[in-house]
Symmetry: C2
DNA sequence: TCTGGCACTCGGAAGCGAAGAGTGCCAGGG
DNA sequence: CCCTGGCACTCTTCGCTTCCGAGTGCCAGA
């Protein structure tokens, strides 16, 4: 077990390194933090920390930098979450309050997160998995062509064209619309298949084909839309990454374009509370030199989606975590209101 | 006026520089292109081209690189558009054919363009400006709460919540829905305001407030959605930009996040035919070291939106233009079909 | 008008040495 | 037993010089 002072030394190293982006040596440490001991003592502590794998030196006779393991310890034990100041909180709220629809909420959230953290922001659209159906609408566009519109309680709207096997009269359409809604409105997506199973039986033989087609399109939509979407922003902040650009930044940009990868990443993060994945803890190779801070957000008590930021492992964890948490909280509020 | 051979020299310089990314000298030129003259002659030509401002040397005693003006001449006079090969065309079509909805079409188009050109792709969503209304739907969510859904002929669906000043009965709702659709279905966005102007008068006094609210929300939606959206992709290709990263890439990433800037850029491009903006021809400062190749695409004869790529001024113009044109053509087809 | 030759310029690579930061280790003191 | 000051050692970094070569401009001759 590491002594209290060694932990403090580690904390100081992380803080300094995050600030200066340069390996930190024993002398600088004692000067900038009053640890109450001499550089020599700190050197011994540092040697111990290095043995344990918390820090490393890029070259002999250079200062130390934290390893992923060091950051991990820092995040778990040494760093708190830095709360937003009151003005910051007000700014967040004001900015998000101006949103006009769901897309806008997400877009604003991305911008906000990117600006607050000066890193790349990733916001997942509210998930439909736990969503409920608010309304299903059917519109007749042509005698044998319908449009199916699905409205969810999170404000999302999805539409699909349906080509009917046979013409479908207005009366039948109204009937189907009414029956469909009475069965699924307010119900969870996952319950829908069961609830509409026997619906075709209620219709005339002529219409059954169309009803079945509509239903299968609806089910498809429910499934497909579970493939969640996300929005990213603040990629320009990647340029603050380091001096060894091309090699570092490229895989990150590639990862950011692979929404599937990001969704998986967010999905793997714990469902409650904030998750911080540091460097190699990220399964995806391209993100091995980045840390991902993510948290769920939701309209009610439940988290309906995740948001977070991607930045260099050398990031201001307390500040970032504070911003991420605050933004998630306010987005949740906004969603609950609308 | 430049002699034929000097133009050939310029063409050769552009081609070589695009290929090698290094300033090209007189000797290398004569070796790689059989111009039929000696290096000394080429040197004279190069001096002339430099006097005219078509090429420049980064330092004394280095080869020449084309200037923006040089690229301009190259694009206007010296380069054709390289057509896609048959297999490439098939690949494009196959890839785009798999799209399930409008978002997917746009997303696939972006991916495709980015891959084909190995540059950053920008695709504008089909514009609503010239769109027509396919259907307006009103749904009652609560006694005094409606949802307005607008469906356009380009397959786009927009929704808005409407808080009514007074409860609005189902009968009135059906009435409004019917009247609204009979007036605006099939009409252009720009005609809608005029067409619904006197609609409140057809309703009972109690309902007029609600009707007005619905109408103004509808008009708002029409206007707001004219603020067009776009999708970008292939940003990882920026890493192939040059060796002087941080300074070059940062403003480009920033520009790419400013969708407003990009929309303006695309908007300024000519409405028909392909537009190539080279370096400083781009009004936006951050894009001064990039070229933008854009073209309109549309479902019918009319262009409904633009798409294009952003890349270094040192790009393969013929190839890029070929890819952009081909993709635009196929996207147009896809839109026309759906 | 083109060509070969030639002197010149200048950037980039390579080599070298001094400076400085940082370390590890050790002996001495509280 | 832990901390401290001192000291020798190691490497990186930086600036300097040198050298090489690519590429140029110019000129005289075909």
């Amino acid at each position: 077990m590491l002594s209290e002072r060694r932990l403090q030394v580690l904390r100081a190293i992380v803080q300094d390194y995050v600030g200066t982006e340069e390996p930190v040596g024993s002398k600088a440490l004692t000067e900038r933090h009053n640890l109450g001991v001499s550089p020599a003592t700190v050197r011994n502590d540092m040697a111990a920390l290095e043995d344990e794998g918390y820090i490393a030196q890029p070259h002999t006779s250079a200062g130390r930098i934290p390893t992923d393991k060091g950051y991990r310890l820092f995040v778990d034990k040494l760093a708190g979450v830095k709360p937003m100041t009151a003005p910051e909180r007000r700014a967040i709220q004001n900015f998000l309050d101006g949103a006009v629809d769901l897309d806008d909420v997400v877009a604003r959230t991305v911008r906000l997160l990117a600006q607050l953290t000066r890193q790349v922001a990733v916001v997942q659209y509210p998930s439909l998995t736990r969503s409920t159906v608010r309304h299903v609408e059917l519109l007749s566009l042509a005698p044998a062509r319908l449009m199916l519109v699905l409205i969810t309680d999170t404000g999302r709207v999805e539409q699909r064209m349906v080509d009917c096997p046979a013409p479908f009269g207005e009366t039948s359409l109204a009937d189907l619309r009414a029956r469909l809604n009475s069965r699924v409105a307010g119900r969870r997506f996952s319950d829908v298949p069961r609830l509409v199973e026997d619906l075709p039986e209620a219709f005339e033989a002529d219409d059954r084909g169309t009803v079945s087609t509509v239903l299968s399109t609806l089910l498809e939509t429910l499934v497909e839309e579970n493939e969640e979407r996300l929005m990213i922003g603040g990629t320009a902040n990647l340029t603050r990454f380091g001096h060894d650009f091309p090699l570092t930044i490229r895989p990150v940009l590639e990862a950011l374009e692979e929404h599937v990868v990001l969704l998986k990443l967010l999905g793997e993060a714990g469902d409650s509370g904030m998750t911080v994945r540091i460097g190699h803890e990220n399964a995806y190779e391209g993100l091995n030199s980045t840390s991902v801070v993510s948290v769920g957000y939701g309209s009610g008590g439940e988290a309906v989606a995740k948001l977070g930021v991607v930045g260099p492992t050398r990031m201001d964890y307390p500040g970032t975590m504070g911003a991420v948490r605050a933004v998630a909280r306010y987005v949740g509020q906004i969603l609950a209101e609308s």
